[in-house]
Amino acid sequence: MLIRKHIISILFERLFFQLLLFSGILVSVADAQQPDTLNFNQQIIYHVTYQTDSNDEQSRNELDMELLLNDETSMFQSISKGRRDSIYHAEKRVRMPTLLMGPVNKFSYQIIKNGTLIKTYDSAFGMNLQGVDQIYYYEEPMNIFKWQIKADTTRIAGMLCQRADVRFGGRDWVAWFTAEIPISDGPYKFCGLPGLIVSLADVKNYWRFDLTHIRKVEKDVILNFQSWYEYVPATKEQLFRERRMFQNNLVAMQEAAGADLSVRTSKEHTHENVKKNVTKRMANDNNWIELYP
């Protein structure tokens, strides 16, 4: 009930912003955090393959993500997001509001590991019609990973790797780390092993991270410069729950917010078909990296 209320409030907020936009008034989003620059000197690239629908291997997809490191801090994000951000920053561009009739992009997060904390910034619903992108952020302690080191070893690209198992996010994961690179880090939130994670996959192989490159870089990443970001402190459970709710009610909400789905671009593109397709796509998007009931 509470969630429903929250979503309805988002809805009204959107209508309100839309009105403001229509009247030509520019609004700067409140609660903006101060821009912050992080300097990284090491880039580790992981090739990610994943399956959005656990019942359909055709839904497999892939992308490259990067783990950026300096002595204190690491950041994990998708390479394309990093690239896009740096262009937006350099050219002082502003993102245009876009209506996306599909699942929320699950790769717009940034994970920053520092000290004993893992801090996640994640766009909860994507950018809305009003050009606001709500960024939920939450923290988790690094010791949530209860690794079990196994005796199995293998060589990957000449590096001696050892197996370690962990349960996380509702999945059983198998990691292969190498003590030859004493960086206690890895893809996504994974960390805390006595060496870098070279390969990581859940036992059903729905999600898979494979290290492809280690490079020296000189890279400045500017955080929080985006004027269209609205930061919302949250918990992980809240993020996942509300995002699921949002996806399930996307059609109704977008229509309520004034989107017209009945524009026929082709014969098949009927209101009913669009609704059916979107609903089906949402239902098939059942295999997020972390699973919560």
């Binding site: 080191i149 990957i156 050892q162 003590a179 690179i181 004493p182 805390g192 280690i214």
Partner: protein, 884 residues
């Protein structure tokens, strides 16, 4: 009871003390040289000399750490590492203690690492094989990689994916060579390619994309660079006798322009002209008929069967070849392609044949020593315009092909008589093939039209004259000559309407085909410088024409995991023959119905089952309707009665396909059955000299074949090894008539091949192939023959440093022929890499053991043929291979 309790208590106490004794805790602080705490250092322990870490801790911000040791050994090896400090390793006694560890500053530089991507990836219908994962150090051209890939087979240069030939071969999504992909396969350097991609169920014609479902696969090479300009080449000489080889093949692969030129010459046994052979014609909407047809060959020089193994061991050739191909993509999506190729090849074949004929009246043994020279000239050129867009498809191809052969055969018959044969065979053909498809409303209208004209004049002369019983009343004479003039004109046209209705796609069509042929032939005997003209029984002047009007419907259905295809073409054929002024066939009308259907079911993403069935009703080409004699070879003569030859039958099959890209496992298995009833039989009558006459007998003959085949391929990434297993078995029965007696020939054959390729080590590459097979033929009168064979092939490549490579090719062939021992061939080569010029200098020794002949057995309809074939001699070749 009491004692029992006491014992348990004692055990419990003992267990507790041991457990306590095992609880060893090592703790302390990690500090730097000035005493500051070091955080995030990893402290691991292992049993000494063991690679596996048993436990670890990460130092806290104050540098402290605590490790609980869970091993029972006497000592442990403690390792403390941090990216900014030098690694410390200590051997410590396995007991609780406190150790403060000082780390010495030293930036452990992290090496740049590049790991290859997953060797086989699947995204949608596209499977990508990473070239890196399959490449061995000695692999130069992309064909060497493609040959190894699991799921892919290469047979005589043709690429099969899961048992079916590929329908398209592209580079960066453009098809430059239109089926003659051997040129790219054998010359494009492997290191220019990043991925070999196979697109399953690919519909290359965009207008058909959502309308007509395809079950064929296309192959695409994804290059590392968007624009690739590269060339490979080779030049070498050697002896003895003098041999040479040269090849220069520059290529350009850009986004809108692609081109390949190749100049090649050799007499070292490489048949480079094979790479000009088109493996598909492409582009045709529904039927692949857009290629120049070769005119029929009526005449032949007596030949020896070539060995069924690597050509370079036996082919005695002298080849010159030039080809130029270009593709330009224009604005508006129009692609223009042009190609011209010419080659000249002189071949020499020597061998000996012993033919054992099983005739109802007994056996005949015939021996022939053959020494033949073949001269082949071949020219082809064409221009093609294609527009392949979402809304419209247009393609026109104009092609010219000319081939002229001059063969001279000398033969020693039954160790007594010298026979000289001379054959000329010319063939010209001009073809235009046009296809168009465009949407009119929701309906796709397609038009296809092919027109071709060809001439095939032929000539055979045999000296001294043979077939004396049939031709000269048993009197020996000097020479016989056979002349043939053959011409043909054909046109095939189809109009169809493709429409999507729900899950169905329905294509009604109408067609109109016409074919005209003229066959003129004559035999002249010469004796004492005088020509003897034989009567009308030896002169053919035949014109045949057939027209076909047809209507049909094709459909396909796809829903979920089910796909179905079907077609129902109904045709009316009208046949006409005019022979020597008579009309043996005058507007003879026949109807045919050839329904086909197939069903495919996807069990899951990895597995597919298919079943298909077809009923066929066909009439033979009318080339064989001549009723005056034609001499086919020095010891065979034939004539047929002018009547239509027809057959009908069913074909059916079942197949299963499995592909697991993640594990790199591909498998397929299929069973096929065909049962054909023809209303004629070729009847051979063989006289005591082994000279045969072939006629058509008016009786039904049946031909039944069962076939089973299975392929399995697996890639083991950890040891970079591909294993492939292929098996084939066939069983059949065919009716034949020999010297008036009708009988059935029952035939069984089987073959299995195991292939292992290892590219794990930089310094050593291994490839091994083992083939085992055999056949049994049962003939009339309880006669039968059994042929068994096995082949082993082992290639070892070793690389020492970056410059030196040594390779040895071992081939071992064995069969069950009495008195023939197993044959073992060895070829060796050494190559030196000149880094500065990116060039290899190669010294080769071929046929090191000097094997001079190869013996084999072939069994055909009613005879067992045992041949030996003369091999290339032991030869040395020094050559240079370069690429840029």
């Amino acid at each position: 009871m009491r004692i029992h309790h006491l014992t348990l208590f004692a055990i419990f106490l003992f267990a507790c003390t041991t457990l306590r004794a095992q609880q060893v805790v090592v703790s302390g602080r990690v500090i730097d040289s000035v005493g500051n705490p070091v955080a995030k250092a990893s402290i691991t322990y292992r049993e000494s000399k063991s690679p596996a870490i048993l436990g670890y801790a990460i130092s806290k911000p104050d540098g402290s750490y605590q490790l609980v040791i869970m091993t029972v050994g006497d000592s442990i090896e403690l390792t403390i590492s941090h990216l900014s400090y030098k690694k410390v390793q200590r051997l410590l006694p396995n007991r609780t203690a406190e150790y403060n560890i000082e780390l010495e500053a030293g930036n452990t530089e992290l090496d740049e690492v590049i790991l290859s991507p997953l060797p086989i990836r699947k995204r949608g219908d596209t499977i990508s094989y990473a070239v890196n994962a399959f490449a061995a150090k000695g692999d130069l051209v992309i064909g060497e990689i493609i040959r190894k890939l699991p799921g892919i087979e290469m047979v005589d240069g043709r690429i099969f994916y899961q048992g079916k030939p590929i329908q398209k071969y592209m580079v960066n999504n453009l098809d430059l060579m239109e089926g003659r992909y051997g040129m790219i396969n054998e010359n494009l350097r492997a290191d220019a390619v990043i991925d070999v991609q196979v697109v399953e169920n690919d519909q290359p014609i965009k207008v058909l994309d959502s309308l007509v479902i395809s079950d064929r696969a296309s192959l695409n090479l994804k290059l590392k660079k968007a624009v690739t300009i590269t060339a490979t080449g080779r030049a070498g000489v050697g002896g003895n006798p003098v041999i040479w080889t040269a090849n220069f093949t520059p290529m350009v692969f850009g986004k809108t322009f692609q081109s390949l030129i190749s100049l090649q010459t050799n007499n070292s046994g490489e048949d480079a002209s094979r790479n000009l052979q088109p493996f598909y014609t492409g582009g045709h909407l529904f039927r692949p008929s857009g290629e120049n047809t070769n005119g029929p060959s009526f005449l032949s020089v007596r030949n020896v069967a070539s060995p069924g193994f690597e050509e370079s061991k036996w082919l005695d050739n002298r080849l010159f070849l030039v080809t130029a191909n270009a593709l330009q993509k224009l604005s508006g999506g129009l692609e223009v392609k042009g190609n011209v190729s010419y080659y000249n090849d002189l071949r020499h074949r020597r061998g000996f044949t012993a033919t054992d004929m099983f005739l109802p009246g007994g056996q005949i043994l015939l021996t022939e020593r053959v020494d033949n020279r073949y001269g082949i000239d071949d020219l082809t050129g064409g221009i093609l315009v294609e527009k392949n867009e979402e809304q419209v498809y247009l393609r026109n191809k104009l092609n010219y092909h000319k081939r002229w052969n001059r063969d001279i055969g000398t033969l020693l018959l039954n160790r007594a008589e010298d026979v000289r044969q001379e054959r000329r065979h010319d063939d010209y053909s001009l073809l235009n093939s046009f296809s168009m498809a465009r949407f009119i409303g929701n309906q796709l209208v397609t038009i296809q039209s092919v027109i071709e004209y060809g001439e095939t004049p032929q000539y055979l002369s045999v000296e001294p004259g043979q077939l004396i019983a049939a031709l000269n009343a048993g009197v020996p004479y000097q020479r016989m000559r056979q002349r043939i003039d053959y011409r043909q004109l054909r046109t095939e046209n189809e109009l169809s309407f493709v429409r999507r209705i729900g899950w169905w796609s329905i294509t009604p069509s109408i067609l109109a085909n016409y074919q005209w042929n003229r066959l003129a032939s004559g035999i002249t005997l010469t004796d004492n410088a005088e020509d003897i003209h034989l009567g009308m029984g030896y002169i053919n002047d035949m014109v045949t024409w057939r027209s076909e009007m047809g209507a049909g419907i094709r459909f396909n259905y796809k829903r979920g995991d089910w796909t179905m295809y079907g077609s129902l073409p109904l045709s009316l054929h009208v046949f006409n023959v005019r022979q020597q002024g008579l009309r043996p066939l005058h507007n003879a009308a026949r109807g045919t119905l050839n329904p086909t259907t197939s069903v495919h079911y996807r069990l899951d993403v990895r597995q597919e089952l298919s079943a298909g069935m077809a009923y066929t009703q066909e009439f033979e080409e009318m080339d064989n309707l001549y009723n005056a004699y034609i001499i086919g070879s020095y010891r065979s003569i034939q004539r047929y009665s002018a009547r239509l030859l027809g057959s009908r039958g069913i074909r059916s099959g079942l197949s299963y396909r499995y592909g697991n890209t993640r594990k790199g496992v591909f498998a397929d298995a299929s069973y096929s059955y065909s049962n054909r009833l023809q209303d004629y039989l070729f009847e051979a009558s063989v006289d005591s000299l082994g000279q045969s006459e072939v006629r058509i007998a008016d009786r039904n003959g049946r031909n039944i074949i069962h076939g089973l085949s299975a392929n399995y391929g697996v890639f083991f990434p950890s040891i970079k090894t591909v294993a492939k297993l292929r098996t084939d078995a066939r069983m059949g029965q065919i009716d034949y008539q020999l010297n008036g007696v009708m009988a059935a020939r029952r035939h069984q054959s089987w073959q299995g091949t195991l292939e292992l390729t290892n590219s794990m080590w930089d310094y050593l590459g291994l490839s091994y192939r083992w083939t085992q097979g055999g056949s049994i033929t049962h003939l009339a009168g309880g006669m039968s023959n059994i042929v068994k064979y096995q082949h082993h092939f082992l290639q070892i490549d070793s690389h020492i440093g970056d410059r030196h490579s040594f390779s040895a090719e071992n081939a071992y062939y064995r069969n069950n022929i009495e008195g023939v021992s197993a044959q073992y061939f060895l070829d060796c080569s050494y190559s030196y890499h000149v880094v500065k010029w990116n060039t290899d200098v190669v010294l080769e020794a071929r046929n090191v053991l000097g094997n001079d002949r190869y013996t084999q057995q072939v069994s055909s309809d009613y005879q067992l043929v045992e041949t030996y074939f003369e091999m290339r001699p032991r030869q040395f070749l020094i050559s240079t291979r370069f690429r840029f």
